[in-house]
Amino acid sequence: MEISFVVEQLLNGFQLGVLLFLLAAGLTLVFGIMDLVNLAHGSIYMIGAFFAATMTLALDSFILGIIIALPMTLVLGMVLEFIALRTLYSRGHMDQVLATFGLILFLNELVRIIWGPAGLAIPLPLLLDGSISLPLGIVYPTYRMFIILIGIIVAIGLYYLVSKTRLGMLIRAGASNRTMVGALGINIRLLFTAVFGLGAMLAGLAGMLIAPINQAQIGMGEDILILAFVVIVIGGIGSIRGAFIAAIVAGVIDTMGRAFLDVLLLALLPANAAEAAGPALSSMLIYFLMAVVLIFRPQGLFPARNG
């Protein structure tokens, strides 16, 4: 097996990982600070993709499309928070799950009415089309490299925001001790709206980045939402660092499973059994990972709140 093959697969895993991170970051913040289980986070991802696709087609520029779509998702997130989700903070997780599931049904149908059932496809920006050559004879699609880059920039930005700024201090305080932030006389409502908007924008960004690879599609949010939940649970709820590490680990493990599991199984099992077991196992791998982590660390890898 060539080294370039392994490195390319690692890059693939990394790319999936940063995408998951963009989704998980918002989810874990909202979860950690407001204690809100927001199933509709995936819908924001979907709408972000539709915004970006619409804008890209209208303006004939992907970059411009994203620049306009980002504030749109920010506003969307804040509006959703203000209208529907704010009242859910004080409720139990059950109520939150039920209400945000209702929101998913509603938003999916709304998108279908606005954009039709077929979805929207947009071209890759010319600048990012094609492949780049790296050392070791690795040829990698430019656009996927671009996603990795954006992901890393966002991760660094978030790290800076959370560890160095006043907002970040409040976010950290909120994740570890919610009542304390209130006691400090902070305008909690504003903080919550801001954090929710930020999370929504990150989810939207993930949707926008994926739009030229797949397409903006109804229901695209639900499957990846489950993965994002898996990530934040592995990482420990409320922890940005945990979300990042877990996202990368999940992305790499999932990709490596798809890349190497069949070969591995062929070495261990008879050909027939290996062919049947391979796809099944690789689809279960990420859930298996979560189960194992939780069995040994019931609070995830980096719990923000102890106890």
Partner: protein
């Protein structure tokens, strides 16, 4: 509150009477199709009553109970595929398998709390789902037809459930039986222990009660009841597929419990009825029915706390 409880009991009695007379009523008004709708409602009710034991009474938010329905159903289908149609073999084995799965998944999941518990139960259910998808021999995700319903033949006894009416009343009887069983259960010492864990688990532990064991037992019983619902579902639909254990099914089951009012005996039955009738009626009005159904769920949560059963949700955040 007492008054509300009485109103609920009257409502529920009416519902049961309705269940009992539907096979006569529905054809009379020219809607024979509703007999099947209500058979389905009763099957989901059984599952919801099972889930309610852990969700409502025990405060354990399991997001993976569709797995036990699926395991129960698939056991029947696989037996039938291999031409073993004897219900006296099929049913106990199906219940055993659902129970063992619940024991294994529950034992591992119950080590976690709160949202972690929600997610790990989901993870286990998804594994079962993917197992079904990759079961080539048993139809993969196309599913598996069940050409013969379970047969109950032993020493001259020959009870056939092929007839839909017989099946309807069998399901009805099982539903009543399960509700009765769960009623005894939640009022027993065991039931008190379960409810105590929801209310104040650490206090109970301090009193010397090993709560984990009780929670696990409740989880297993609940899994077995869902397995039973799966057995009935497979026989009723004459078909199983991995869809029946995909995560949206677990979600729907949860909603039935919550809609009806968690931790009330009859809430899940009310909830299952409301959920299924509502989606049936709305979907026949417009293909865009989710546009109505979604906000309806939200409104239900925001303004009708504790669901249709009317008993106040005890407002406990888990974890």
């Amino acid at each position: 509150m007492r008054l509300k409880k009485n109103v609920q009991e009257i409502g529920v009695s009416c519902l049961f009477i309705l269940f009992a007379i539907i096979p006569i009523l529905a054809p009379a008004i020219g809607e024979a199709f509703y007999v099947d709708v209500f058979a389905r409602i009763m099957i989901w009710s059984i599952a919801a009553v099972g889930l309610n034991l852990v969700l409502g009474y025990g405060g354990m938010i399991s997001f993976g109970h569709a797995a036990y329905i699926g395991l129960g159903g698939y056991t029947i289908a696989i037996f039938s595929f291999h031409e073993i149609n004897n219900g006296f073999i099929q049913w106990p084995v199906a219940l055993l398998i659902s129970g063992l799965a619940a024991l294994l998944f529950g034992a591992l999941s119950l080590r976690t709390r709160g949202v972690y518990f929600i997610m790990i139960t989901l993870a286990f259910a998804q594994m079962v789902y993917f197992l079904g998808v990759s079961a080539d021999k048993y139809g993969s995700n196309d599913g598996l037809n069940i050409w013969n319903r379970s047969e109950f033949k032993i020493y001259g006894l020959d009870f056939s459930i092929d007839d839909n009416l017989t099946f309807y009343y069998l399901t009805f009887t099982i539903l009543i039986l399960i509700v009765f069983l769960v009623r005894r259960l939640v009022n027993s010492r065991f039931g008190m222990a379960i409810q105590g864990t929801r209310s104040n688990e650490s206090r109970l532990e301090m009193l010397g009660v090993p709560t984990y064991v009780y929670k696990l037992t409740a989880f297993v019983i609940s899994g077995v009841i869902c397995g039973l619902a799966g057995i009935l579902q497979a026989n009723f639909e004459r078909f199983v597929s991995p869809d029946m254990m995909d995560w949206p099914r677990s979600g729907e089951l949860m909603f039935m419990v919550i809609m009806g009012g968690m931790g009330t005996l009859m809430g899940p039955v009310l909830g299952a009825t409301a959920f299924l009738v509502l989606s049936e009626v709305l979907s026949s009005l417009t293909v865009h029915w989710h546009l109505i159904f979604g906000p309806l769920l939200i409104i239900l949560v925001l303004y009708a706390r504790g669901g249709l059963g009317g008993i106040i949700d005890r407002g406990q955040k888990d974890g």
